[in-house]
Symmetry: C2
Subunit: 127 residues, 2 copies
């Protein structure tokens, strides 16, 4: 499989992991590097694997449903790193209330032993 | 100069180019690749060099002052690509009104003939 296709698969797997609302599934798609980073829409930077994962656990605890339709605009591979620019159409149910939003995202992936895992997620609200 | 230092210099040059409010200075720090991309805080994706630069011209036309203090959280180099996660403290004057904001940014750079230029900027508001 060409690298770009494998990166698109990893990008989609990242969103399926969010939709699972399952901590262990989410842990598996993130690179084990302790210095991974994440910016949720409107949030300050989360730096470090513990802080990043804890932020997802908190989101999962407070969310009943998350559904993404993701359109990749660009997928660039350079050696063991790759980055994806994509637009998320997000439908979520939080505290019983349905929310629909568009989010622009930049996702960076690292290849370890043939497996691409996310090292940086940056999502921003479209207002 | 180690690659990481050169990338930090390119990142700082990108913000100095914004502060210049000068179209030609901004054109020089962006990679010539027609497929460069940019997400301004709260905006949808700008895809393509023409759209990206036009968005900056519009910002420059409507802004009297922009001043950045930028703190890099991580700088990763892989071959000819590099990405920086940083926090911008931004002070701007738009239509005579002073604004202060914190912006989280992901910036991706490409090395051509020893010169790092930006290929993707993603800024998101911290609310």
């Amino acid at each position: 499989m060409p690298d770009e296709d494998a990166v698109v698969d990893a990008n989609q797997a990242f969103y399926r992991a969010i939709e699972s609302l399952d901590n262990a599934t989410m842990e598996a798609v993130w690179d084990p590097d302790p210095s991974v980073t994440c910016v949720h829409p409107g949030w300050p930077l989360m730096a470090g694997r513990d802080k990043v994962l804890q932020s997802w656990y908190t989101i999962f605890d407070n969310t009943m449903v998350m559904q993404f339709t993701v359109t990749e605009s660009s997928v660039i591979v350079s050696g063991d790193l790759a980055w994806v620019v994509c637009t998320e159409s997000l439908r979520s149910v939080v505290a019983g209330r349905v929310n629909e939003a568009t989010v622009e995202a930049t996702n960076v992936f690292r290849n370890r032993n043939g497996q691409w895992r996310i090292v940086h997620h940056h999502g921003s609200p479209v207002m």
